[in-house]
Amino acid sequence: QEPPKPRQIVVNASIGDTMVATRAIYYAEFEKLYGIKVVESGPVNLAKLRAMVESGNIEWTISEVGGEEAIRAEKLGLFEPIDRKIVDMDALPSPMKERKVTLARGVYSTALGYRKDAFKNGQYPTNWADFWDVKKFPGPRSLRARAIDNLEFALMADGVATDKLYPLDVDRAFKKLDEIKPHISVWWSTGQQPAQLLIDREVIMTSGWNGRFYKLQRDESGIDVAWGGAMTKIGTFGVVKGTPNAYWGQKMLALMNDPKLQAAYAERVGYPGTHPKSWDYVDKAALKYFPTSPENLPKVAWTSDEWWAENGAAVEERFSRWLLAR
C-alpha cells in the first residue's frame, strides 16, 4: 500500500544542461508513471541541505551531492537510508552497491578542456604537465576556485602518478600551484563557466566537468578534452532526511538507477551511468567522450572521496587563503 500522492516532489540537482536532460529523461518518466509533478531546484549545495535538515524546513525531497560530500552528508545524517526494496542496487559494482544512504547515479570527470585553434599544427595539450607548461602552451587558463581537483592536478603536473596521489602531499601541491597562479585569468565557480570561457576565447584551456565539454566536442566546435589525469568521481543522490515524501523520493531513486534511462541520460550529457547494463543501450559513437570509455579509462585518475571528506575543510580554507594572497 502506497502512501498518498503529494502534489509534487522537489529534486535538487546540478543546473545547466544536465538539469534540462534530467527533466526530459527522469522527471518526465516519473511524472508519467506516478502523476506527481517534479519541481527542480539547484545548484547542488551541501550547506543548504544541511541547514534545511537542521532547521526542519525541508524544501527538497531528494538531492544530488558530489562524491566526497556524500560521505559528509552520511556522517551528518542528512539523508534517509535507501530502501533496498524500492531501489535495487545489487547490480551496481562494488563499492557502489554497499552505499547506505546515497545512490551513485553517474560518473563524471573534471578534465582538461582546450581550444583547438589556440595551438598550431596539432600540438594539443594532453595532461596537467602540459597545462603547467606555459612556455610550450602560452595563453590564459582557468581553474576552479576550489582546492578539490586542483591539488591533484598540481601533483600530477609535478610528476606524481595517477595512482599514487593519495594521501595528497598538500604542501607540494601548493608549491606547484604557485607556479601556475599568474597564468590563471579566471577562477571559475560554476559548471558552465569553463565551456563558456573557451567559447568566448577568454582562456585557451581550463579544467571543467566533462559533460560541459561533451556537446561542444560532439559538435566539432573546436573544443576538445585531454583525458590525461582527469579527476573522476561519482555523482550521487539521496532522500533528504525528514522529507514528508520519502517514499516518492525512493521511487525517484529507483528510476535513476534504471539502466535504460541512465543510458539515455549519458548519451545526452556525456555523464555515463553506474548501472553496468546501461552500457548496452548507449550509442557507440558517444562512448569515446565518456571518462569510462575503454580508451579514456586508463588515463583518468579517481578522486578519493574519503580523503576529501576527511581533509576537505582544512584544505579548502588554505586554498581560499592562497587564492587571495597577493
Binding site: 550547506a47 577568454e202 587564492l323
Partner: protein, 279 residues
C-alpha cells in the same frame, strides 16, 4: 478617579501619527532589526568572541577588509571625478536638456545591476567589443585581459554607483542660490575664485553625501565582484556569502556581517559628524 487617571493617560499617549507608524515599525522590528540582532547573538554564541578574533586578526580576512575598503575608496573617487562636473552641467541645462540628461542617469540607475554587469562582460571580454576594436585597429595583436580583474570590478561598480553620486550632488547644486554667485561676482571675484571660494564650499555637503552613499554601498557590494572579479576579487560580501552558502559557518558569517555593519554605520556616523560640524 480611576477613570480620570485613565483619561489623563489617554490624553498623554501619543496618538494619531504615532499609531499610524506602528505597523511598519513592528514589521521592521520583526523582519529587519530582530534578525540582524539575532545574527549578532549568533556570532557571539556561547559568549565566545572567537569568530570576531578570527575576523579581525586572521590575515586572510584582514586582507579582504583592506581590499574592500580600498575598492570602495577608489570607486568613490572615480564617481566624484566623473560625477561632479556632470552634476554641474545638468544644472546649466534647459528643461529639455536636463530631462534628457536625467534620462541618461535614471535609466541606468533603474536598470538591473545584473543587466549592467552582464553588459560589461560583453564589452570587456577577451573577445568583447573593446578588444575586438583594438585588434581591428591594430593597436594590439593579442586580446588584453580587461575582464576578471580589479579594473573591471571597479569599472562595473563605478557604472552602478555613479548615478547615486550625481543625484545628491545635483540636488545640492540646484539649491545653491544663484544670487550668491552673482554677489561674489559683483564683489570682484574672478570665475576661478567664485568656484573655489563660493561654489565648491557650498556644494561640498552634496559631495560628502554622495560620496558617503557610494562608499557605503560599495562596502556591501556582492554581485559585481562576483561576476566581474573572476573569482580573484573578493569583497567582504562575497566572503560572507561563501561562509553561509558553502561552509555553513553561520557564526563566522555573522561576525563578518557585524564587522561590515559596524564599518558601514561608522562611515555614516563620521560623515554625519563632518556634515554637522560644517553647520
Amino acid at each position: 478617579m480611576a477613570g480620570g487617571a485613565l483619561a489623563a493617560l489617554a490624553a498623554r499617549v501619543p496618538s494619531g501619527p504615532f499609531v499610524l507608524g506602528l505597523p511598519a515599525l513592528l514589521f521592521l522590528l520583526v523582519i529587519f532589526v530582530g534578525p540582524v540582532l539575532r545574527l549578532l547573538l549568533l556570532s557571539i554564541e556561547g559568549g565566545s568572541l572567537g569568530a570576531y578574533e578570527k575576523a579581525l586578526t586572521d590575515g586572510l580576512y584582514l586582507q579582504v577588509f583592506r581590499d574592500t575598503f580600498e575598492i570602495a575608496a577608489i570607486v568613490t573617487v572615480f564617481c566624484a571625478l566623473l560625477g561632479y562636473p556632470v552634476a554641474f552641467y545638468l544644472t546649466t541645462l534647459s528643461r529639455t536638456g536636463s530631462a534628457l540628461g536625467f534620462a541618461c542617469i535614471l535609466i541606468p540607475l533603474l536598470t538591473s545591476v545584473l543587466v549592467r554587469t552582464y553588459a560589461w562582460m560583453v564589452i570587456l571580454g577577451r573577445n568583447g567589443i573593446v578588444n575586438r576594436t583594438l585588434m581591428d585597429w591594430g593597436m594590439t595583436d593579442r586580446p588584453l585581459a580587461l575582464l576578471h580583474n580589479l579594473p573591471s570590478v571597479i569599472i562595473g561598480m563605478t557604472h552602478v554607483l555613479l548615478p547615486m553620486f550625481i543625484l545628491p550632488v545635483y540636488s545640492v547644486m540646484v539649491r545653491v542660490d544663484r544670487e550668491l554667485l552673482r554677489a561674489a561676482d559683483g564683489l570682484g571675484a574672478s570665475g576661478w575664485q567664485v568656484f573655489t571660494r563660493v561654489y565648491l564650499p557650498l556644494t561640498w555637503p552634496g559631495v560628502l553625501a554622495g560620496a558617503t552613499l557610494v562608499f557605503i554601498i560599495s562596502l556591501g557590494f556582492y554581485i559585481t565582484p562576483a561576476l566581474l572579479g573572476g573569482g580573484r576579487i573578493m569583497m567582504i560580501a562575497n566572503v560572507i556569502e561563501h561562509q553561509v552558502q558553502s561552509l555553513l559557518d553561520w557564526r563566522f558569517a555573522g561576525a563578518l556581517s557585524m564587522v561590515l555593519l559596524v564599518a558601514t554605520l561608522a562611515v555614516q556616523a563620521i560623515s554625519n559628524r563632518v556634515q554637522a560640524r560644517r553647520g
